[in-house]
C-alpha cells in the first residue's frame, strides 16, 4: 500500500516538474519576439545614432505602424481560431476606396462626411460577416472563402471609383493626417484605440475566452454548449471591422481612395502575427504578441530604409529576420503538433 502511494507521489512530482520545465521554456519563448525587437532597436540605434531615436522618426515609425497594426489585430483572432483570412488586400482597398468616394472628393458630388467613413467601415464589417457565415454554414475552408472575397472586394473597390482615384477634399479629413494629440498623430491614436478594444475583447469578455477555446480544440467548447459557429462568424466579423477601419485610415493617410491602399498588406500582416508568437494552428498567442510582431516589421522597414539599404537587399534581410523570429518561437508550435 505504502509502496503504491510512493509511486503515485513520484508520478505527481514528475508531472509537476515537467509542467514547471515547460512553463519555463514557454516563458522564454514568449519573450523571444520582444528580445528580437529590442535587439533590432539597439542595432539600429548604434548604426544610425540620434536620427533613429529622434522624436521625428519615432512619429514616423508610429505612423507606419498604425495600418499594419489594425490589420494584424483583426487577423490575430482569425488565426487564433485556427483559420486564415486572405481577403485583406481586397477588403482594405475596398473600404478605403468607398470611404473616399462617399466623402467630399474630386470625382463626384458626394459629401457624407463622417457617415461616409462609417458606411465604409460597415462594408468591411459586412464582408467579414459574410466570409464567416459562408465558411461556417457551407463548410468551405476559410482560406478559400476569404481568397474569393479578396477578388470580389478588389472588384467592388475598383468599380466604386471607376479607375480614377478620388482625392479627398473634405477639409477636416485633409487636415487629419497632420493633426496630433500630445505629440502622437491622431491616426495613430485610432490604431491604439482599436488595439485597446481588441485587448479588452480578448482579456475581459467571454467571447475572448471562447476564441482561445475554439482555437485549442473546438469539440470542448461545443460539448459545454458554446455556439462555436457563432464565435467563428463573430471573429470574422471583428476582422472585417478592423480591415474596414484600416482602409478608412489608409485613405485618410493617403488623401486618396484607391484599391492599392490594401495592396501587399496581407503577407506582412500574417508574418507579423506569426513573428509575434501566435500559432498558425490556433489557440495560442494574442493581441500583445501581434503588437510586438507588427512593431518588429515596422521598425525593421524603417531602420533599413534609413540606412539606405537597396530594395533587393532589404527584401532579403526582411526574409531572414522573419525566419529568425519564427525559428525562435517554433518550439511552442512543435509542442502543439506533438500533443
Amino acid at each position: 500500500m505504502a509502496k503504491v502511494k510512493q509511486t503515485q507521489m513520484t508520478i505527481t512530482e514528475e508531472f509537476a516538474a515537467k509542467v514547471k520545465l515547460e512553463y519555463k521554456r514557454e516563458k522564454l519563448m514568449k519573450w523571444a519576439p520582444v528580445l528580437v525587437l529590442v535587439g533590432m532597436i539597439v542595432i539600429f540605434a548604434i548604426q544610425l545614432g540620434a536620427a533613429f531615436i529622434s522624436p521625428l522618426n519615432i512619429v514616423s515609425i508610429l505612423n507606419q505602424w498604425s495600418i499594419p497594426l489594425i490589420v494584424a489585430l483583426g487577423l490575430t483572432f482569425v488565426i487564433m481560431i485556427g483559420s486564415i483570412d486572405l481577403s485583406i488586400d481586397g477588403s482594405v482597398g475596398m473600404t478605403g476606396s468607398i470611404a473616399a468616394v462617399l466623402v467630399l472628393n474630386s470625382q463626384n458630388s458626394n459629401n457624407l462626411g463622417v457617415w461616409g467613413l462609417v458606411i465604409a467601415i460597415l462594408c468591411g464589417v459586412f464582408v467579414g460577416f459574410i466570409i464567416g457565415l459562408i465558411h461556417v454554414k457551407l463548410k468551405i475552408p476559410s482560406f478559400m472563402v476569404s481568397f474569393a472575397f479578396m477578388n470580389i472586394c478588389a472588384g467592388i473597390g475598383l468599380l466604386s471609383y471607376g479607375g480614377r482615384p478620388p482625392t479627398i477634399q473634405d477639409e477636416w479629413l485633409v487636415a487629419l493626417p497632420r493633426a496630433s494629440f500630445i505629440g502622437i498623430p491622431v491616426l495613430v491614436w485610432i490604431a491604439i484605440f482599436i488595439m485597446f478594444i481588441c485587448l479588452y475583447i480578448q482579456e475581459c469578455t467571454p467571447f475572448g475566452r471562447h476564441i482561445y477555446a475554439v482555437g485549442t480544440d473546438e469539440t470542448i467548447p461545443r460539448s459545454v454548449g458554446i455556439n462555436v459557429d457563432r464565435v467563428k462568424v463573430m471573429v470574422f466579423t471583428l476582422a472585417g471591422f478592423c480591415f474596414g477601419v484600416a482602409g478608412v485610415v489608409g485613405a485618410i493617410r493617403l488623401g486618396q481612395g484607391q484599391i492599392a491602399i490594401g495592396t501587399n498588406l496581407m503577407f506582412p500582416a500574417q508574418a507579423a502575427v506569426v513573428i509575434g508568437g501566435t500559432s498558425l494552428s490556433g489557440g495560442k498567442g494574442g493581441v500583445v504578441n501581434t503588437i510586438v510582431g507588427t512593431l518588429i516589421m515596422t521598425v525593421l522597414f524603417n531602420g533599413l530604409t534609413m540606412m539606405n539599404v537597396s530594395g533587393n537587399v532589404k527584401n532579403g534581410i526582411q526574409g531572414v529576420i522573419i525566419l529568425v523570429a519564427v525559428a525562435l518561437t517554433v518550439k511552442r508550435g512543435a509542442a502543439i503538433i506533438s500533443k
Binding site: N57, S60, P165, T167, L254, Q256, Q258, F301, T305
Partner: protein
Amino acid sequence: MRIKKFVAAALAVTMGLLVLVGCTETMADVEQEAQETQETQEDADEVVVADVDYDWANFTIDPSLIPQEKLDTTVYLAVSVRGLENPYYITIVDGVEMFTAFLDSIGQQYELQLLDSGGSNDVEINNMRQFLARAGENAIIYADANESATVPALASAVEGAGALLATVWNRPEDVGPDAFNDNWVIHTTADNQTAGRETAIALFESMGGEGQVFVVEGMLGNTAAIDRLVGFEEALEQFPGIEVAAQGTANWDTSEALRLVETWLTATPDVGGIWCANDSMATGALQALTARGLEGTVGVTGIDANEDIVEAVKNGLVVATYSSNAYAQGSFSFAVLYAVWAGLIEIDELPSEFRDFFTVGILVLEGNAEEYMGTAPDFDFTRIFDFKAD
C-alpha cells in the same frame, strides 16, 4: 489492391509517354516557327530597301478607298491591359473610344473588347487565345504586355489566327515587329528616358541647381523604371550642385512611396526635391510632405500625368509631370492596325522605323497644366503616324 496499383502504374506510364510526345511536338513547332521567322525577316529586309522614298510620316487614311465589303465586315478591337485599377489604362480606353467614334463616322462595323490580365502572364495569353478564336483574322489588338517575355507568345498567337497586333512599352530587347512576323504590325513606347530626364531637369531648375534630392524608383527590373532612372541620371550629370540623399524603390505604389519618403524625411529634413518615377508614387511623396507641412516648399516630380498630380502641378505643389499621351497611344495604334486591316497599307512596304518607334510625350509644368487639363485632345485619326515622335 494489387490490381489498383497496376492500373495506377499503367496510367502513370501512359501519362508520362503522353507528356513526352507533347514535348517533342512542341519542340518541332518551335523550330519550325524559328525558321519561318527567319524567312520573314529576310523578306522584310528586302522590301524596306525598295520603298524607302515614300513619305510615310504623312500617310493618310482615305475612307473612300476602303471597300464597302470591308466596312460591312465587323472588325474586332481588343485592348489587352494589366488591370483597370490604374488610371492610365482608363485613359487608354477613353482614347480608344475616340477612335471607335471615328470608325462610326466612316461607317465601319466594329466591336470593342477589354482583356484584363490582372497582372498574370497566363491569363493574358489565354484571354488573347479566346478572343482570337472568336474574332479570327478580323481581330486587331492593342496589347500592353505584362512583361517583355510574353510578347513573342502573343505575337505567335496572333499570327496563328491571321490577326493584327500592336504592342506598347514592353518587348524583348532582341525581338521587334518587323523581324518577327507580318501580324505584329507595330511596337511603340513613350520615351521613358526623355521623360525621366526632362522631369529631373525641371526639378533641378526649380531648386536653383543646388541641394539634396530623394529618388523614388519604380519596380526594380522593370524596363520603364530602368529607362526613367537612366534619364534622371543623365540630368544629374548636368547639375553638379545636386546630390542624391536617398534612393530606393516604392514599386510604383502610393502607400510605399509615402512610407519611404516619410522615413527619409526624418534623416534628411532639409531635402530640396523629390524625383518620382511615376505619379502614383508622387502622390505618396506629396502626402508625406503635407503631413510635415512641407508641401510646396519641397519640389516633387512624377511621370504619367495622373489627374491629381496635374491638378497639383497647376496649384504649384508639384513641379512637373510627363504625359506619355495615353489618349494617343491606344487610339493611334489602332488607326495603324486598321489601315493595314482595311488593305490601305501593305505591311511589307512599311519601313522598320515606322513599325517600332517612340511616341510623342508632353512635359506638364505649372504654365501648361491648365491647358493640359482643360482640352480633351482632338485627334485626326486619318493621319495615323501623327503620334510618332521625330
